[in-house]
Every structure is written in C-alpha cells, then in structure tokens.
C-alpha cells in the first residue's frame, strides 16, 4: 500500500497559501541568501575550502570508530566524562540521572538540535525538571509552545510584532513593550540573566569536537551560549557521533566555512572552545554525551552517508525554493529543508518523513551552496528509490512506470504508443483546461495549460525526410 501519498504535499498546502508566513520567510531567507553570496564571493579559495572540509569529514566518517575512541580518551584526559547513548531514550536517561544526582530541578540550555531530536525537553518535563532555552530564537519557540522551523533561526516564521505579542503574554506580562529589536532583546536579557545566575546545570549542543585534544566547540551569535558554558557548575554537552574533527587545524577550516554559510558573516561572534575542566574557571564538571540514534546505520549507506557531513549551517534551507514557500513546519521534523529531506528519512524513517525525498524539484541550489559539498539531489533520488523498493509507492504508479519502461526499451512498442497518442491528439488537444481532469493531468491543469500534441512525431518526419 502507498504510505507516501500525502505527507509533505498535504502538510505544505496550508502554508503555501499563508501570505504572512510567506512574507516573513521570503524576507528572512532572501536577505540571508544575499549576505551569504556576498561574503562567499569574497573568498577566492572558497571551492578549495569546501573540498578540504568534505575531505576532512569523509576521513572522519570512514574511520569513525578510531576517532571516537580517541575523542573519549582525550576528553577524559582533561577531566571530562564521556557517556555513550545508542538512541534518544538512552541519552535522555543519562542526562536525567546526571541532573538527579545533583538534586537539581531546573537546567538551562543552549541551542542544541540534537537534544531537539531526542525530545529532551519533553522528557525532562515529564520527569519534573524544567529546561529553559537561552538562545533568543529558541526561547521564543519555547515560550510560544511552538516548534522550531529553521535550523539556525528557529523562529524565522515569526516577525517582530508577533514576538512582542508573545513576550507580553509570557515573560513581560503586564508590561507595555514595543517591537523594537533592542527592546525585545532587553526583555529577554533580563529574564535570562536571572536564569543564568540561579541555575546549576547547563546543557549544550556541540558544533565540533576535536578528537586529538578533547576540545569541544560551540558556535553562536548572542553570547547567551557563552554564559551557559561558563557560569553553571555542571556542563552537559550532547553531540551526534558525526560531529568530530581530527585536530585543531581542521577546526579552522570549518570556522571559516560555517559563519559565511550560515549567517553571511565573515567571522562568528561567539566561538567557545573548552577542553575538560579547570579548577576555579568555568564548570567543575563536564559530561559529553555521544549519541548514535541510527547514525551508524546511515553510515552503512554509501550514498546516504554524505548527509552526516552536515555542519548545520542552514545555507541549503535559505536557497531552497520549496523551503521558502513551505516553511520548516511542513517537514514535520527537527531537521527541515533540503538537509532535513535527506536526513529525516534516514534517521527516523517514520511515516511522515517518507514523503520528504519527493519534496524537491531537484533544482540543485542546495548542493551548490553546501559548505561540505553534500550532493543533496543525489541523496534525494537515492532515497526515493529506497522508499519505493521498500514497497511504499502505490500499485497504480508502479504499474504505470513499469509499463512505460517496457515500452521505452522496445522501439517498436514505443512507436506504436506514439501512434496511439497521435490518433487521440485532437480530443486531447481540445480537452477542457483546468483541474477537473483525472490524476496527474488534473494536478498539472490547475495552474497550467497542457502542451499541444503536434501532427507528427519527430521520427515520422525524419523517416519522411530520409525516404
């Protein structure tokens, strides 16, 4: 039976028609897009950098077991503790027991997609622990009981006045604030300061982990991350197994690629690097939770595995014509956009992700901007095949394609098919336009006329000319 009939084409539908959402997204993505193009254009060695980054990541992925062991050793050498989690459940349990062992009831968090993937906040809440997001955009999402819609700008679907209204209902209740960005930032700052100073445990994501030195790196733009990483007594960082780079020199390559690709900045505002713990400076306890959650299965797919090179810069989202018109929520995954369309079906394989490989016109804009050269269209086509081989396409579609393939491998049959088409060309050409036609023709016809079938095929003409 077909399980991929609806999915994205249905979930994107109301969003395509939402003009406010469209306006928010269009203005946000097009301005990041232009900024990115400008600062990337300045680098004459951009292509070289991309290839270097691709090579480093492939080197890591091809020898992941060795690098993971090296990372564990070096993190523990500098006083950190490494925890291995096979899946989200295990990772969540590990984190919960760490929090409980300190008798804490609340934690602060800085932007970690991986913990969103694990649905850590819900898990903690169910266990009586409050998790406060400190990244401004994540905070906005959390306050609105909303879901992130962009990897880097999780609240990209909201504009300033929508955020002001949200703050007035939550952290600025009873106060009159304007939608001036500075005032909005100040409102969140005073709310967060109190959290930073009163919370004992912080949970962070990881952008890069250096195997050689045990150094962990978080890249952010507000400085709230820096607070999270330095003020609390206990720091728990969560990373997927693919986030490793071999040495500090390799990290330099990514620190050049990431800000230009993600925010269109030449340099990232707050880049925090730490190696283990130091008495009297920063957290006294450091835990690194390393999560698999099907990544090792993805690694086994020779085409699909390149998705694990991703550094979550979100450049592919910002150039994607589909994402720009659907927004992130239509993907129904923490990883939306082109990277989500290749990552979600591989990591989660759940029903709603099965339609995602088709949520693309294969225009290739994503591949062109990807700083680690993930050939997203290639992976999409590969995953389409995989989903179909697993039996998720409809019998009608499969039969149609099978019959077509047979006719196309037999020139005589193909010519016969052409003749049949020509005999019905007049009624077809006269068909009423519009969406009332059956099946694919109707889907086409809602907004487009059909091309007219001419009197003669090319090969008939050729024969005529030849003879």
């Amino acid at each position: 039976m077909s399980r991929i009939k609806a999915g994205f084409s249905t979930s994107s539908l109301p969003r395509i028609g939402n003009s406010q959402l469209r306006a928010n997204l269009r203005s946000a993505t097009s301005s990041i897009r232009e900024k990115r193009a400008r600062v990337v254009g300045e680098k004459s060695d951009w292509e070289e950098l991309r290839r270097k980054a691709e090579k480093i990541k492939d080197q890591v992925l091809n020898n992941l077991d060795a690098y993971l062991t090296e990372l564990e050793r070096s993190v523990e050498d500098v006083g950190g503790k490494v925890h291995w989690a096979r899946d989200s459940q295990e990772a969540n349990e590990i984190i919960l027991s760490l929090i409980k062992s300190h008798g804490s009831k609340q934690v602060i968090k800085v932007k970690s997609l991986t913990t969103d993937e694990m649905q850590l906040n819900d898990f903690l809440q169910a266990n009586g622990i409050s998790a406060y997001e400190t990244d401004l955009a994540e905070l906005i999402v959390q306050l609105g009981n909303d879901r992130p819609s962009h990897i880097l700008v999780p609240a990209i679907h909201k504009n300033r006045s929508e955020i002001r209204d949200l703050f007035k209902q939550t952290i600025a209740r009873g106060r009159d604030i304007s939608d001036d960005p500075a005032e909005l930032a100040e409102t969140s700052r005073s709310y967060l300061r109190e959290k930073f100073l009163s919370t004992e445990i912080a949970i962070s994501g990881v952008n890069f982990a250096v195997a050689e030195t045990g150094t962990v790196c978080v890249v952010e733009s507000e400085g709230n991350g820096r607070m999270c990483l330095t003020l609390p007594r206990v720091l728990i960082s969560v990373m997927g197994i693919e986030k490793i780079v071999p040495g500090l020199d390799d990290l330099a390559v990514f620190l050049e690629l990431l800000p230009r690709s993600s925010t269109g900045e030449r340099m990232n505002p707050y880049t925090s690097l730490w190696s283990g713990v130091y008495p009297g400076d920063g957290p006294e306890e450091f835990h690194l939770v390393i999560l698999d959650n099907r990544r090792s299965a993805v690694l086994a797919d020779p085409i699909g595995r390149q998705a694990l090179r991703c550094i979550r810069c979100s450049a592919c989202l910002n150039v994607c014509p589909v994402y720009e018109r659907s927004g992130g929520h239509a993907y129904d995954s923490v990883y939306p956009g082109p990277i989500g369309a290749v990552l979600s079906p591989q990591l989660f394989g759940n029903e709603s992700s099965l339609s995602l490989p088709w949520a693309s016109s294969l225009c290739g804009a994503c591949y062109e901007v990807c700083p680690v050269r993930i050939n997203i269209p290639e992976v999409l086509v590969h995953l389409r095949e995989k989903v179909i081989v697993d039996g998720h396409s409809s019998l009608a579609e499969r039969s149609l394609f099978a019959a077509l393939a047979r006719a196309l491998t037999n020139t005589t049959a193909f010519e016969l098919l052409e003749k049949v088409m020509l005999t019905v060309r007049i009624p077809i050409n006269r068909m009423p336009v519009g969406g009332s036609l059956p099946g694919y023709l109707g889907k086409w016809g809602v907004t487009r006329d059909l091309p007219e079938i001419p009197k003669m095929t090319f090969r008939m003409w050729w024969r005529h000319r030849d003879g």
Binding site: S361, A365, V381, A405, T409, W444, T447, T457
Partner: protein
C-alpha cells in the same frame, strides 16, 4: 572530412516538440555537421530515475547505450537528459555487474553533449547566422546551470543572433518549479514556485523566454498561456534556426 553528430531527441521532444529537433538539425547542418538520427533511440530514463524507479530504468540505460554505440558524438537537445546521462549512467551500469556494459557506458558518457555546449565548446561556434528580431530573456534551467554548468554558451549564442535584444531575467537562476513528477506530486508547491518565475518573466519585459530544455519550458508556457500573457517560449535551437535559409543546408 565532414563532422558527424548523432542527435538524441528524447521521448518528450519526439512526441511533443519535434520542431526543436528539426531546428537543431537545421542549425547543425548549416555549420557543416552531418546529422544522424539513430532510429532505435527512445528515452534516457530520466523520469524513472528521478521519480525513484531507478531499477526499472536499467534496461533503458542499456537500450540507450546500444542505440548510440555507433555514434562518435551525441548531441542532446535537453539539458536534463544530458545531466541524467552524465550523473547516473555509469553508476547504474555498475549496478548490473555487467562489465561489458560498464565499459561501453564509460566510453559513451563523455561523448554526449548538450546542444549549446556542443556548438560553443566542441565546435567553437558562436554565430550561426540566425536572426530573431525580438526581446528575449534566457532562463537557465537548473540542470543546465548547476549540473552541466553551461550558462555562458547559450548567452554567447543568443548575443550573436541578429536583431535579438537580450534582457535580464530577475532571479534567473531560480527554479521554474517543474522538477518532472514534482510538478504533479507537489503540484501546489510547483505552481507557487512557477508563479514567481512567471512574475519575473513579465517584469523582464521579454516577448520570448528561451531555455535549453522543453520540459521546463512546457511548465513555464503552461502558466504563461493560462494567464494569457502573450509571452512565448522557445528552445534555443529554434531561435538559432530562425533566419537560417533552408537552401543553404
């Protein structure tokens, strides 16, 4: 010795756009290329591969390789078919485990050229003597732009056409929303992307939109017609065939 080229027309053009193939022949003959049409050719398999029926397309790859085994240079009038052959054929042949097919595919793929690429890149021709006195914008299709990287060749050829005024298409590099079966599987999304392309075409002031692929053009034309814009579409080959005297061929 005259240069010989085999034309790959594609199933889509064979049935729906024979004029493009005839135009390509006229242009090639005008510049002294002898054109053949290996009559066993059918389809490159793109629709199957891109929709996810790669397995079913393997016999199509074999069929294509057989049909063109005697051809030295193969000229395709579709950018996306050319890209399909370059990007997928070898991998698909390898999947069969048939070493002979792999070898033949490996030899064949570098001999396939997109039409404009063949003219400017292989033959070094920029001006074929055509004239088309109209205001034209060029839509670089996704495959021609980002897979084949042939943005320049069409521009070079168009600039040499007498009387043709080439105007800028805003956001030219953005997809038209076609994407093969994407246009019907995600038809609302496809239409939303197309609507912006149409708006940009109208903003350009062009009378004709030119591209290297009739599949994208059928999508664009479908909306241009539906909205009664009066703007026409044309494959590059048809523009280049304009004003070339048949007798000279």
């Amino acid at each position: 010795m005259t240069r010989k080229a085999s034309l790959f027309v594609s199933c889509f053009n064979d049935v729906l756009y024979p004029e493009t193939a005839r135009s390509a022949i006229r242009v090639l003959e005008k510049i002294g290329v002898e054109v053949e049409f290996p009559s066993n050719q059918t389809c490159c398999g793109q629709i199957h591969i891109n929709t996810g029926y790669s397995g079913m397309a393997v016999p199509l790859v074999r069929h294509f390789v057989d049909a063109f085994s005697g051809s030295k240079e193969i000229v395709a009038i579709s950018g996306s078919c050319t890209a399909t052959i370059r990007e997928h054929y070898l991998r698909m042949a390898e999947k069969t485990g048939d070493l002979e097919l792999v070898e033949r595919t490996r030899e064949l793929v570098p001999r396939v050229f997109e039409f404009s690429e063949y003219l400017t890149g292989v033959l070094g021709v920029a001006d074929v003597g055509s004239s088309y006195p109209h205001r034209v914008c060029y839509h670089p299709t996704c495959h021609s732009l980002r897979s084949l990287h042939v943005w320049d060749s069409a521009i070079t050829l168009l600039k040499a056409v007498r009387g043709l005024e080439l105007v800028d298409l805003p956001h030219a590099e953005q997809c038209c929303g076609f994407g093969g079966t994407f246009s019907v599987k995600n038809s609302a999304m496809s239409s939303a992307i197309l609507a912006d392309k149409v708006a940009n075409i109208l903003a350009s002031g062009a009378e004709t939109v030119v591209a290297l692929d009739n599949s994208c053009l059928s999508n664009i034309a479908g909306a241009l017609k539906r909205n009664k814009t009066g703007v026409s579409v044309m494959h590059l080959a048809e523009v280049l065939a304009h004003g070339i005297d048949r007798e000279e061929a």
